[in-house]
């Protein structure tokens, strides 16, 4: 056998469908450089004399034959993309939350995270909604926009919001102790982050008439309001 390569070669002839390659025989001849090998050896393929074969042990008939030919599974090279953001949602848009703890609150959209979820903030001082992730489907985008240029959202990603894994203690004695002694207080880091993001936001919000009161108020359907006729 020829010396093995350190890195495996990518297939030169990718499958269009299983069994059908992209390139024809003549193209592959060219791609593999067989013409160069031939030229190197004066128009003829190099022939190696067969090495003397080692004595082969007599093959036993296999005990088990699969009932049908075993098929190789197809390669899956699909990479999922982040959810497509609705055209009405742009950084700085005011969104109305439709479900969850803060339903009805109006909130400022910051950016879309790699998981596809939307990063959003109240701002906290105005309506009590902290930096939070939301799903697009549970949100209505209004036509109101807030100027978001002063806000730096680079550091926030899905890992920032990951739940901390609690180390499980195994022990009977400890079981009877107050299990949740430590109240889950928000680390100061996160509080600082919230303030930093909100500082410039609140300035631009106060610049617009009524916007602060608007964000502080909640949305609610009232008698006679038909959502299919409302313009948000």
């Amino acid at each position: 056998m020829a010396a093995k390569r350190k890195t495996p070669v990518k297939t030169r002839n990718p499958d269009l469908i299983r069994g059908v390659g992209k390139y024809s025989r003549s193209k592959m001849y060219h791609k593999r450089g067989l013409w160069a090998i031939k030229a190197k050896h004066g128009g003829v393929f190099p022939r190696h004399d067969p090495k003397p074969k080692a004595p082969v042990a007599p093959e036993k008939a296999p005990k088990f034959y699969p009932a049908e030919d075993v098929k190789k599974p197809l390669l899956n090279k699909r990479k999922p993309k982040p959810t497509k953001l609705r055209a009405s949602i742009t950084p700085g848009t005011v969104l109305i939350l439709l479900a969850g703890r803060f339903m009805g609150k109006r909130v400022v959209f910051l950016k879309q995270l790699t998981s596809g979820l939307l990063l959003v903030t109240g701002p906290f001082k105005i309506n009590g909604v902290p930096l939070r992730r939301l799903n697009q489907s549970y949100v209505i985008a209004t036509s109101t926009k807030v100027d978001i240029s002063g806000v730096n959202v680079e550091k926030f990603d899905d890992k920032y919001f990951a739940k901390e894994v609690e180390k499980k203690k195994k022990g009977e004695g400890e079981f009877f102790e107050a299990e949740k002694e430590d109240k889950k207080t928000l680390p100061d880091e996160k509080k600082e982050d919230q303030k930093a993001v909100d500082a410039s936001l609140i300035k631009s919000i106060e610049g617009v008439v009524n916007l602060k009161a608007y964000l502080a108020a909640r949305f609610s359907l009232k008698s006679g309001m038909k959502p299919h006729e409302l313009v948000f």
Binding site: R86, S88, I96, L98, A99, M103, G104, R106, Q136, S137, Y138, V139, I140, A141, T142, S143, T144, N210, L211, A213, Y214, A216, A217, R218, F219, S220, L221, K222, G224, K226, P227, H228, E229, L230, V231, F232
Partner: protein, 121 residues
């Protein structure tokens, strides 16, 4: 520019605790012909929706039938059956809905909540 939600302009009005983010609907009964009914699909009349074209906004929206029971389940007397709007029924704004489990016959005439999610606005 700013949407008309609760009266946020009038600062003096106290904020009410309840926030309705659903549209009210009435359960009319099951999908049926004169003498056969098919309980896997229910017919719902949504408040304020009177034509087939208006129903298009509600297609796919989730709905919940909420009812009470004497026995507490999950520490609550309230129970819920979730479902969704599937398609319009006829020309006058009635919709067909499918629920996770079929609605019980006692629900006919009862209130159902049609939420505004999954939203497409």
């Amino acid at each position: 520019m700013l949407d008309s939600g609760t009266g946020w302009r009038t600062g003096g009005r106290p904020e009410v605790d309840r926030w309705r983010l659903y549209v009210r609907g009435t359960i009319l009964g099951y999908k049926r012909s004169k003498s056969n009914q098919y309980p896997n699909t229910s017919l719902i009349q949504i408040e304020g929706v009177t034509t087939k074209e208006e129903v298009a906004w509600y297609a796919g929206k989730r709905m919940a039938y909420i009812y009470k029971d004497k026995v507490k389940k999950n520490s609550s007397h309230y129970r819920c059956i979730w479902g969704k709007v599937t398609r319009p029924h006829g020309n006058s704004g009635v919709i067909r809905a499918k629920f996770k489990s079929n609605l019980p016959p006692k629900s006919m005439g009862d209130r159902v909540r049609v939420f505004m999610y999954p939203s497409n606005i």
